[in-house]
Subunit: 440 residues, 2 copies
């Protein structure tokens, strides 16, 4: 068995959590970029700086519904002595042909509409009689109901300084500015900006396609009848959901029997849609742990460099792990242990960062914090293993949930954190400070 | 115009942010529940308590690869004086027919396999010679390569207490226990538990379908040529992305011209796929603000109770807002102002909580915190308006980003927080403590 990256140690080496993680993260590379429609790029990472092709706003425009006028024509205007101007027409948003505003004239202008030539400022409609002759108004009458409002006279009751209520061309961004920096994650405001500068598509790293399968002849699909010695497949559901939560497009293959030939052909079949593969089960020291046997040579014939390395980690849960690449395209594959808690914890520690690395994110890990252990008795942990216990975190305190057994799914479902007990610590007293991985 | 819920005030009332929000949240009801496949229910809210139909594990099973034996047969075993037992066969995971283990016998057992009758404990394979006669081994040889390992003799080098490495039936959850409580949001661990107890489908409130359209004759789609007086439509992209981020299934209709008849018929067309509708633009006091005109009577003919109410809020940005219901099914509709920053801030304050209420979530708001204002000069804010300025938050400090102009999309794209300036505050000095809405 060969491996994609040279690995520093022999088969008997007990890998640390950090060594294994480093092996995964130096092997997995960000996916090649692709041009995507804006809304398909949500949550993805921008590959290049995006420059502004045209200034925003593209032209001087009104920030209010009102009247575009010359400054001198409204100087000194008051309710007692209003300026009376001739209305020369409407300027709606989107208007292209703009009649000039001359001395003694006003154009009725809508928010976002271009400032017509000759006009120097905008008086809001609330500072005028709206052309009705009856004192200040709260708004304009609808064009469809009162088309005559575009003409006639308007009384202006307050003066306006030059360029009041005018948004200047380029006051948001200027042509040639950098709109967004390479590496930006595209959320709604970033998508707003890209659309505003006219970008309908954008070059990003796509969401990775992750194929998930569990292995084990004892596994039955939910809603089917459970026979003697059988249990329900939960890992393929949990890992698929977790992959989606991490940002991937995840495909759940389901459970594959403990048969090396079936497993190998299933993996080979799925390669076509996989940027990353995740299996659970079959990686320990049992006589039916066929994942090792099956994955040592998947699609390997075409060239060197592939293969999955199976190893023991100084970790609890999650001691047995496999990692490597499969197929002619060297698709990364993480083979997780089969116990539900082991596979979930392994996902959080190794697969989630791998998925986020494929996406091109730099912040690939769950946040961590320090917390005070709130417990009735000391936590115990095996010497030489980094233990990850399930916990509930709130307000700087973390409380263990359930025991250390890697089959305790119910407790996992109540947890929102992992309590980290370092390799050299075998006991943690209540009240001690511990490191916590926050899962939500 | 009538409204779905009785509204406390007349058309001239200046609504507070809280009054408007309360009106929205008392009108919008959680969607009716639906039975969904597990993976389709990710992120959704459980409607009923889910009880455990069958204990987990369903049977006593081994937590290790090893040998199932009787306690007395391995009592006092050591490397010097190993217990030598007759191997009577394999018990693989999923095995249904279990041969009993008699005195002096051992069954080779795999992780997860049922404990056979007669066996009282499990010794890990690492405590044995694996049947090879050469001292302690690291694991079993694969069944496919060495089928003889299921028979012959095994030397056991360490004793085991009763039920060591045995996971007892029901030690995770017991039949009749409550697996998950109504109101639980289904993340990967909760999906794991539901699958493990055999639930392939689950009753949840579905993700709401949100139809998004922007209005304005000046709007052009990105990647098309920009004519005189035109700008690119960004709101329909930003609001669609924001709706998805909030948990909705969002449909972007795009930009509709300022024509009441076209707008009305578009809204009526879209009703069939809408649990919530969101528009932007056309809600202010201009002569071409056709949204009011169009939405006062959408699909209203069939019965009473519909209609959209347009109002002014004591808020900046976001003063003009519309809210009500449209169509015979009284689909809630929020009509947001058209300035990009106004529409985005309005979404965060009103639409996002509405979407999360439709989902049945109880925690519908963005988190808020207190922060120290880091700025070169005082922030100013109009009297009587609650102002929401864009900011960048880090480590207890918030720094304003860009100005207060509601057309400043570039600054919005650099912000991750909103700085709240209360109605009665007109100036905030640098170093003062402010309330902050965290947007990510």
């Amino acid at each position: 068995m060969s491996s994609a990256a040279p690995r520093p140690t022999g088969p008997d080496h007990l890998w640390s959590v950090d060594e294994h993680l480093e092996d995964v993260l130096t092997t997995v590379r960000p996916l090649d970029p692709i041009e995507l429609n804006l809304l398909d790029a949500q949550g993805c990472v921008l590959v290049d700086d995006v420059m502004v092709p045209v200034s925003l706003p593209p032209f001087d425009n009104s920030s209010m519904d009102g009247y575009a006028v010359r400054v001198t024509d409204v100087a000194g205007a008051s309710e007692e002595y209003p300026a009376v101007l001739e209305v020369v027409g409407d300027v709606a948003a989107g208007a292209a042909d703009l009649a000039p505003v001359g001395p003694g004239q006003a154009a009725r202008i809508m928010t976002g509409a271009p400032l017509p030539p000759g006009a120097e400022t905008v008086v809001p409609v609330e500072w005028t009689d709206g052309g009705l002759g009856g004192g200040p108004v709260g708004g304009m009458r609808a064009r469809s109901l009162a088309p005559e409002g575009a003409f006639g006279q308007v009384r202006v009751y307050r003066p306006a300084v030059a360029r009041a209520h005018v948004r200047a061309q380029g006051s948001d961004v200027r042509a040639g500015d950098r709109a967004l920096e390479a590496g930006t994650v595209l959320g709604p405001p970033q998508i707003a900006l890209l659309a505003a500068i006219g970008r309908g598509t954008v070059r990003v790293r796509p969401r990775p396609r992750v194929v998930v399968m569990s292995t084990g002849s004892e596994l039955v699909q939910p809603d089917e009848a459970l026979g003697k010695g059988q249990i329900y497949d939960s890992n393929s559901f949990a890992l698929t959901a977790a992959a989606r939560d991490a940002g991937a497009i995840a495909y759940r293959v389901g459970a594959v029997a403990d048969d090396a030939e079936i497993l190998r052909s299933t993996v080979e079949d799925q390669l076509v849609r996989a940027d990353l593969m995740v299996t659970s089960g079959g990686v320990s020291v049992g006589a039916y742990d066929v994942v090792k046997e099956a994955l040592s040579s998947v699609g390997d014939e075409d060239g060197p460099g592939g293969g999955v390395d199976f190893r023991r980690l100084a970790m609890q849960p999650g001691k047995p792990q496999g990692f490597g690449t499969v197929g002619p395209d060297h698709v990364p594959l993480l083979a997780l242990p089969g116990n539900p808690v082991s596979s979930y914890v392994s996902f959080e520690l190794f697969v989630r960062p791998a998925i986020r690395t494929l996406m091109g994110l730099t912040d690939v890990h769950r946040p961590r914090t320090r917390a005070t252990l709130a417990a009735d008795k000391a936590l115990t942990s095996p010497e030489g293993r980094r233990q990850f216990l399930r916990g509930a975190y709130a307000d700087g305190e973390v409380r263990p949930v359930g025991g250390s057994g890697s089959h305790l799914i119910a407790a996992l479902a109540q947890a929102d954190a992992l309590i980290v007990v370092p390799e050299d610590t075998t006991s943690v007293e209540p009240g001690a400070e511990v490191e916590v991985v926050l899962l939500v």
